[in-house]
């Protein structure tokens, strides 16, 4: 009976080996001329899958450059890690981060490599550049496909009930009535994941700018407010209206995004105000998500002015502290090329168009991507407000939950958000907000 004693020792030996081999790999160059680039990204599945696909395809073409991914938390926790590591000079060579309003908080001028006029940007679509530009300098390249923000709907339910995608809010509410009468949840609501609650307001931006074309500039300058712009209050009113009519699923207060998507795909709910990029990770479990779920922009009041709000893809940036600038640039150039997007498409089916010249949607693209492309072809899209203005209050998601749960009146919610925005602008030291 000596064996039980030997087991743990073998296990310890095995563990030691694992530990030793694991410690050997840092960022740097080794004697055979191979360079290892460290690459930091958030932890959600499509980000991880996308980066893996990019890294593999790139290393195949450039065997001397290895990519070592480092996965951190996503969401705002991840924001803080990125900021901390940039400010303490401890960033990976290349990192994945949002474009638009969040970029400016990273102080790109001090922390990132300026790519303005660099051949790296050769294939990047010109209309993408503004969202990765700060103080007239360009810092990033698009790393994935763009996404649509609006209503994801179950096409099977629509077919069964003989409904048509609405082009006005009134039509949308009429559809909801019929859906409810058929015993299906009209509007899936998932307030446990608070961020999902703000889509109804943020994705309504197409309608805001259709009514007030100068909203983004005036809002950035502090000259206009949500509460005093009827078109901007509409998003908050929509939330309140849906709650008042009882269109939400039972237990909406503690439902999660994932449960919401499941309800939508299985046809237990008809509509879900959501970003199309949440769909691809569901394909593994629910292949029917590719065909059964469609997309339309949040309807406004004028059917002639119906359009959709677009979320620009996240970007890759190079940290100023990198010791492998040439290799990092080579990698970014690959990511922002048709070969790069082709590699991504194989791993994560795009839920919208790419922002790279020459990149195409595959023939078997997701239905939501096709629907979004139709809006783009009609030139009836606008980027979301957070890509046009650095001003974005951090508490919007709590406010929209409160409005959507009937705890706060829509106008009060909009006013609260204005205060929240003023605080953020002040903390960022934006001109005109004192």
């Amino acid at each position: 009976m000596k064996t039980p004693l030997r087991m743990p020792r073998a296990a310890v030996a095995a563990l030691t080996v694992v530990a030793l081999t694991a410690c050997g790999s840092g960022s740097g160059s080794s004697s055979d001329g191979t360079v290892t680039l460290s690459f930091l990204m958030g932890n959600d599945q499509s980000t991880v899958d996308t980066t893996k696909a990019l890294a593999n395809a790139f290393t195949q073409a450039n065997p001397k450059i290895k990519i070592k991914p480092e996965v951190i938390a996503g969401g705002s926790e991840g924001d803080n890690i990125v900021k901390t590591r940039l400010s303490t000079g401890d960033m990976a060579d290349v990192f994945w981060y949002n474009p638009g309003s969040l970029l400016q908080a990273l102080n790109p001028g001090q922390t990132m490599v300026d790519l303005t006029g660099d051949p790296v940007l050769k294939n990047v679509k010109k209309d993408y550049l503004p969202v990765v530009t700060q103080g007239g300098k360009v810092y990033g390249v698009p790393a994935a496909a763009a996404a649509g923000g609006g209503i994801l709907y179950n096409r099977k339910v629509y077919e069964r009930l003989g409904l048509k995608p609405p082009t006005t809010w009134a039509e949308f509410m009429a559809n909801n009535d019929k859906v409810k009468a058929a015993g299906v949840t009209p509007v899936i609501t998932t307030f446990k994941d608070t961020w999902t609650s703000q889509v109804m307001v943020l994705a309504d931006y197409y309608n805001v700018q259709a009514a007030v074309p100068t909203f983004a500039q005036d809002y950035t300058a502090g000259k206009t407010k949500f509460a005093t712009t009827p078109a901007a209050v509409a998003g908050f009113q929509h939330l309140a209206e849906i709650h008042a009519k009882g269109y939400m699923n039972k237990g909406f207060g503690s439902a999660t995004n994932e449960q919401g998507l499941k309800m939508l795909i299985e046809g237990k709910g008809a509509h879900y105000a959501m970003l199309s990029l949440t769909l691809p990770p569901q394909l593994a479990s629910y292949p029917q998500a590719a065909t059964d779920v469609g997309f339309f922009g949040i309807p406004g009041n004028d059917p002639a002015k119906h359009g959709a709000t677009v979320w620009e893809p996240p970007a890759l940036y190079i940290a100023k502290t990198t010791k492998h600038l040439d290799e990092a640039k080579k990698f970014l150039a690959f990511v922002a090329s048709p070969a790069g997007t082709a590699a991504v498409t194989k791993a994560v089916p795009p839920s919208g168009p790419y922002r790279v010249e020459g990149a195409t949607l595959p023939a078997n693209a997701l239905q939501v991507a096709k629907d979004l492309q139709a809006y783009l072809d009609r030139r009836a899209t606008t980027p979301a407000l957070e890509f046009l203005s650095p001003v974005k209050g951090p508490s919007l998601e709590q406010i929209t939950v409160a409005v959507g749960s009937g705890l706060t009146q829509p106008v009060d919610g909009a006013a609260q958000y204005d205060k929240d925005v003023a605080k953020q602008a002040k903390q960022l030291g934006l001109p005109g907000w004192g």
Binding site: S76, E77, D79, N80, K83, T84, L86, S87, A105, N107, Q110, T111, F191, K192, T194, K250, G251, F252, G253, S254, A255, P394, S395, Q398, I399, V401, A402, S405, L407, T408, Q416, K419, D420, K423, Q424, K426, Q427, L428, G429
Partner: protein, 316 residues
């Protein structure tokens, strides 16, 4: 019958009091005494604490007077304090903080003491029960938060299912503004009561047996034993549990953050979760100012509390 116990307790108390007095008397046998308690024993703790905690904290206090982006900071005086105090949901956060701290520390004291007495008693299964009660302490807050969010889900969650069997309509415990905060507080108690119990067990077994024996000889009931021996003599444990769990309750946010994120809306926000939100939004100066204010609030509540509790300890 309790005369003897009381006498003994009195003696113990006297011993303590003389001890305190002797220490308070500056010159008497001074050199010898102080030599027995050299400040050098402070040194290792002080060194680590000073360098790793105090210095950064003082630096942070400076940043509370600045607009701080991590990359640079601009001196703005007391602006951050004014902004934090005018934060829209601070009042509700303040109320919630007090409610949460009182409910959790109160329940931890009562349940912890009860379990402590029970598990130092003669129950045959006490070894098993001691482990079971302590299990939740071993699980990380994140894991507890996730698990209970699931058990408390409306309709399909285990709690509502069980209530359903009893014919009671469940509810959306965490998604409903009226129940969210208290639900989290109860989970906090579930997780923390094992710790309070262990502190009580350590306190109760430290009580000299002779006191109990004295009550036995006099034929005192269990209630008497508890009332006149266990309760007063486990005071160090009570003191520790109250202070630790009250402070813990006042600055709590991790469980609230995993379970409700301060929601729905702002209804279960506490001061600490409001501060954390500023931090998450990247308003580092503002969140540091919030921390300074929280520190003042907690100190204002805890210092009088420890003073009152500490006084009782000497009187015994």
């Amino acid at each position: 019958m309790t005369v003897k116990v009381a006498k003994q307790a009195k003696q113990a108390a006297d011993r303590q009091v003389t001890g305190e007095q002797a220490a308070g008397r500056p010159a008497s046998r001074g050199g010898r005494r102080h030599g027995s308690y050299p400040y050098a024993l402070y040194a290792p703790a002080a060194a680590v604490y000073l360098v790793i905690f105090l210095v950064p904290t003082v630096m942070a206090f400076y940043f509370s007077l600045t607009r701080w982006t991590l990359f640079d900071s601009t001196f703005v005086g007391l602006d951050n304090f004014r902004d934090f105090l005018s934060e829209q949901n601070l009042r509700i956060g303040f109320q919630n903080t007090i409610v949460y701290a009182v409910v959790t520390s109160g329940l931890k004291v009562v349940l912890g003491m009860g379990l402590g007495v029970l598990l130092t008693g003669s129950l045959r299964s006490r070894g098993f029960l001691r482990s079971v009660v302590f299990f939740p302490v071993l699980v990380s807050t994140v894991a507890v938060g996730i698990t209970f969010s699931m058990l408390l889900k409306p309709d399909t969650g285990l709690v509502d299912r069980t209530l359903g069997l009893a014919g009671i309509d469940g509810r959306d415990w965490l998604g409903d503004a009226t129940t969210a905060l208290l639900s989290v507080a109860l989970v906090d108690v579930w997780k923390g009561v094992g710790l309070a119990t262990v502190i009580y067990i350590a306190g109760i077994v430290s009580i000299p047996r002779s006191y109990y024996e004295a009550v036995m000889v006099d034929g005192g009931s269990a209630w008497h034993r508890f009332r006149h021996v266990t309760l007063p003599l486990s005071w160090p444990a009570t003191y520790s549990v109250i202070v630790l769990s009250f402070i813990g309750g006042l600055r709590t946010f991790d469980l609230i953050w995993t379970m409700t994120r301060g929601g729905p809306g702002f209804t279960s926000d506490t001061i600490a979760s409001i501060i954390y939100k500023q931090y998450q939004a990247g308003f580092y100066g503002l969140s540091t100012a919030g921390n300074v204010l929280l520190f003042i609030v907690v100190t204002a509540l805890v210092v009088p509390l420890t003073y009152v509790l500490g006084k009782r300890q000497v009187v015994l």
